[in-house]
């Protein structure tokens, strides 16, 4: 076989690989959407799920997913941005910085089931809270924090240094410069990264199995008192999220319409993640336009 033929065969193989990857995605998406969209209805989204009978919806799971995401971001964003500021502005090259960087690396590479186990140990047993939204959110914070730190650090480092110098030269303190010059300039990039991270958190299940639990108490959406056990806003109640719901109905569910419910839930989940991705892209390109237009 001469080298020309080999080259042609190789090119064919690479194109075939690309086609395989694309068809995997197209196959997955069309399967999810074709099977799922027909089950998505207002009724499906607004009725509570059933443990035994067919026809249950995903109202509580959907709410739980967004609520846990919200609480997670409430904790992870300030912590992560603070960590990013530390890494970008305060950390001096040396041992301590290396340690912090290694810690971020370790946290980022922990399997989510291990984070779930840690959550079970810390936020469920040690605190005595049992399965709670807060415990789930804290576990997800551990899962999410490295991403936010990295995104914030990169975003702050990307702010032109002459802006920082300008502010410092005017007799403004470093901290005030960070707050009023660096963070606002880095904000769009941080936001884009945070939304992408939110998509990941939204679909996460393994870290929640043993922290937020597999059940949801009967919720009264008219009850807005966050301390009432029936209130959806109570952060000390167990909460099954959409991703966890898909897993639990498939592995331990008794309902006869497992596949319908899972198909519908999977479609909602994937569409939500898709919306997060598109939103992040859209914000990213908007900012890009704004920045390039003004220069």
């Amino acid at each position: 076989m001469n080298s020309k033929t080999a080259d042609r065969i190789a090119t064919g193989v690479f194109i075939a690989i690309a086609i395989i990857i694309i068809s995997i995605l197209v196959g997955l998406f069309s399967y999810i959407l074709v099977n799922g969209l027909k089950h998505i209805s207002l009724d499906f989204l607004t009725t509570p799920s059933s443990n035994v009978r067919a026809g249950g919806g995903i109202r509580d799971q959907l709410f739980n997913s967004f609520y846990i995401l919200f609480i997670t971001m409430l904790i992870a964003l300030p912590l992560g941005i603070g960590g990013g500021i530390y890494m970008a502005e305060y950390a001096k090259p040396g041992k301590i910085t290396d340690i912090v960087r290694s810690c971020i690396e370790v946290l980022a590479s922990l399997p989510s089931i291990v984070i779930g186990m840690f959550g079970l140990l810390m936020f469920v047993n040690l605190t005595g809270w049992g399965y709670t939204i807060l415990g789930g959110a804290l576990a997800l914070t551990v899962f999410n924090l490295p991403v936010i730190v990295r995104v914030s650090e990169d975003a702050i480092r990307a702010v032109p240094s002459d802006l920082k110098e300008a502010s410092l030269a005017l007799g403004i303190t470093k901290w005030h410069t960070i707050k009023t010059v660096l963070l606002p300039s880095a904000f769009p990039t941080i936001l884009t990264g945070a939304i992408l991270a939110a998509g990941r958190v939204f679909g996460e299940a393994a870290a929640l199995l043993f922290t937020a639990g597999l059940s949801t108490p009967r919720l009264d959406y008219a009850n807005w008192n966050p301390f009432s056990s029936q209130s959806p806003l109570n952060i000390f109640r167990p909460a099954e999220t959409l991703a966890v719901h898909i897993w639990s109905v498939n592995t331990q569910g008794l309902i006869p319409d497992v596949e319908d419910v899972s198909n519908g839930s999977a479609a909602v989940l994937v569409l939500s993640v898709l919306v997060f991705n598109l939103l992040a892209r859209w914000i990213g390109s908007m900012i890009h336009k704004k920045v390039t237009a003004s220069k």
């Binding site: 080298s3 020309k4 080259d7 065969i9 190789a10 690479f14 194109i15 690309a18 990857i21 694309i22 995997i24 995605l25 997955l28 399967y31 964003l77 300030p78 912590l79 941005i81 603070g82 960590g83 500021i85 530390y86 305060y90 950390a91 912090v100 810690c103 370790v106 946290l107 922990l110 399997p111 989510s112 089931i113 291990v114 984070i115 186990m117 840690f118 140990l121 810390m122 551990v142 303190t173 901290w175 005030h176 707050k179 963070l183 998509g199 990941r200 679909g203 996460e204 299940a205 393994a206 898909i246 897993w247 498939n250 592995t251 596949e259 999977a266 989940l269 994937v270 898709l274 997060f276």
Partner: protein, 324 residues
């Protein structure tokens, strides 16, 4: 806008008095506790606190899971040798409980290596397609495809594996469908984006001179890729595969839904199997906290933790080779 988002930070706004020139230079220009300690130091403390929280989270995860994972050996007297070498897993047998976790350790490694074997050529091939074969339009199509694949949650992979892949294998290939093969396929698709993304970075960061030099010598594209580009990018390509394997090793729910979860070492890829993560996922909720069986699950968790440290070390080793 940022001030609504970072309410904590606005608490620490430094209050400064107007510097009048009438004040003696000493009072104006020398550090004094009053103006210096106000916003500046508090801000610094705040961000250092964030870093400290990250360090303590990492340390406490290691310590808590470490001590908890060792309890089955220290407190319950389970033999470490038995745990990692015996194939007999019978924790519920009242008379003679057995705690051999080898089938699950084997399952984890088997499914990880098989997934890497499938995903590596696909991922690296996809990367080469994007950077070498069709750099103009290939990336525009494949890049979003990869990003969308990352976005699909693992339970959705597991669910599709369960409803499509498992019946397909049962009918077309044989066996129960719940098998090492199903787990391998699901995992390899899941780690494909990781491998492809890093492999693409590796290929596109190669210097142009390498390609041009090779083409100038009359080499074909395939010869250039095989003899010049892949060897040059090898450490990073290996990093890509190791990162993919790290993800596969720790993945729990998707695998658990398709692999069958039996306690025997599989003899063929069509046999059902189990991994450390799937056993933890299945049994953590069913066993009594503090019981021997429960404690052995924590020991499996400790193996996962140790393995993720091992993967980090491996990646560090590879990246130190890259720098040379």
């Amino acid at each position: 806008m940022h001030q609504c988002i970072y309410p904590i930070m606005t608490y620490f706004r430094g209050v400064w008095c107007i510097m009048e020139k009438l004040v003696p230079a000493k009072d104006r220009l020398l550090k004094s506790n009053k103006n210096w300690l106000d916003g500046e130091l508090r801000g610094k403390i705040l961000v250092i606190l964030c870093a400290v929280i990250m360090i303590s989270a990492t340390i406490s995860i290691t310590i808590f899971l470490g001590t908890k994972g060792l309890q089955s050996f220290i407190k319950n007297g389970v033999s470490l040798i038995e745990f990692i070498t015996s194939t007999q897993w019978n924790p519920t047998n009242q008379a003679k409980p057995e705690y051999g976790a080898l089938p699950f350790i084997f399952g984890s490694f088997a499914v990880t290596f098989l997934a890497a074997i499938v995903a590596a050529p696909l991922g690296i091939g996809g990367a080469i397609f994007m950077t070498e074969i069709a750099p103009s339009w290939g990336k525009k199509i494949l890049q979003p495809v990869i990003e969308l694949l990352v976005g699909i949650p693992s339970v959705v992979y597991g669910f599709i594996g369960l409803t499509v892949l498992v019946p397909f294998i049962r009918e077309q290939v044989g066996g129960l469908g719940f098998s090492l093969l199903s787990g391998t396929i699901v995992l390899s698709i899941m780690i494909l984006p990781t491998v492809t993304t890093i492999a693409t970075d590796a290929m596109s960061s190669l210097s142009k001179n390498l390609r041009e030099g090779s083409y100038a010598l009359g080499a074909t594209r395939w010869q250039t890729i095989r003899k010049v580009l892949i060897p040059a990018a090898l450490p990073t390509l290996l990093t890509a595969i190791v990162l993919g394997m790290a993800r596969a090793f720790g993945e729990a729910l998707a695998v658990q839904m398709v692999i069958g979860n039996v306690r025997d070492i599989p003899t063929s890829i069509l046999d059902a199997s189990a991994t450390l993560t799937t056993i933890i996922t299945l049994n953590m909720g069913h066993t009594t906290y503090g019981s021997v069986e429960n404690n052995t699950l924590w020991s499996m968790g400790l193996i996962l933790l140790i393995m993720s440290f091992a993967f980090i070390l491996l990646i560090r080793y590879l990246s130190s080779r890259r720098k040379m």
